[in-house]
Amino acid sequence: MSTDSTPEPMRKAPRWAIWLPLALFFAFVVLVSVQLRNPADTNVASTLIGKPMPAFDLPPALPGRPGLSSAAITDGKPHLVNIFASWCVPCGVEAPQLAALARSGVPIEGISVRDRTEDLQVFLKTNGDPYQSIGADDDGKVQLALGSSGVPETYVIDGKGVIRYQHIGEIREDQVPMILGKLQEAAQ
């Protein structure tokens, strides 16, 4: 070790510094593997929660059935507004859960996005029809107005027309009590 023999122009780095690049590398590996195990939630949530639902008036998606307007569901009771489509596979998956919610007396309104009447009829025949009314959002404008970025999504709207909760993706069996809880909160 030649420490003080010659005056060096640069100060020497401490000995542990040699491990620094390796440590940084391992820190990076740990970060990457943690992120791989817990992939980030890439859903874009609506930022309208707690705000009044935008006004809309959709024509009926099925002949002889009511369409859906924001005014119609502002009736003092909480409603579920389910955004769905016949071409959406998870929408079929959540159908039994919606049926269970409808059986327990929850008013469920549908907004069918970019759909065709014939396809919708087949979908409802296969999966059951829990909806009080279905509005046809053929150009997707109301979906955008609600801040929804996909199907299925389910909104809890309270009696004053305020959006209380947005459920992104299908409602799974074990999530039904949670949805009922959100409806109860909205009723207070």
Binding site: S33, R37, P39, V44, W87, D139, G140, Q143, S149
Partner: protein
């Protein structure tokens, strides 16, 4: 390690399956695939569409994306521009619903100001250090 591999494989699998699931109707919105007749307005709309994120295929702008929801968003932008709306008002309308993530044009907010301030601070620091160096060099 095995779990990691499983995650990678699962992601690959999803990636392969996703196009098969997307049997979605193309957007029936009037201006999803139709340009505005007025070229000046179309240009305005185009400029805005290139800075809005597709909500489904999140790496793409709505101008680039073929996802049906991007078609709906393009039509919304074009219809509003045609009606004389300001592009920034349309952006604000979308940000109000989806948050800043929907816009590719960064804003200075309480959360993002360091992104703008740090480069400036680093430049100032560099200038300060360099000044010190040059002074010493001049004296020697």
């Amino acid at each position: 390690m095995r779990a990691l591999l499983a995650v990678c494989l699962a992601m690959l699998g999803l990636w392969a399956v996703a196009p098969a699931l997307a049997q979605e109707e193309q957007s029936t919105a009037p201006y999803a695939y139709r340009q505005l007749d007025d070229p000046a307005k179309e240009q305005k709309a185009e400029a805005l569409m290139e800075t809005l994120r597709c909500l489904q295929c999140q790496g793409q702008s709505i101008a680039d994306s073929d996802a049906p929801i991007a078609g709906s968003m393009r039509s919304l932008v074009r219809e509003r521009i045609a009606a004389g709306d300001d592009p920034e008002a349309i952006r604000a309308w979308l940000v109000e619903r989806y948050g800043d993530y929907v816009s590719y044009a960064p804003r200075v907010t309480a959360l993002t100001w360091p992104l703008f301030a740090v480069p400036l601070a680093l430049l100032a620091l560099a200038a300060l250090l360099l000044r010190g160096r040059f002074r010493r060099g001049g004296q020697a």
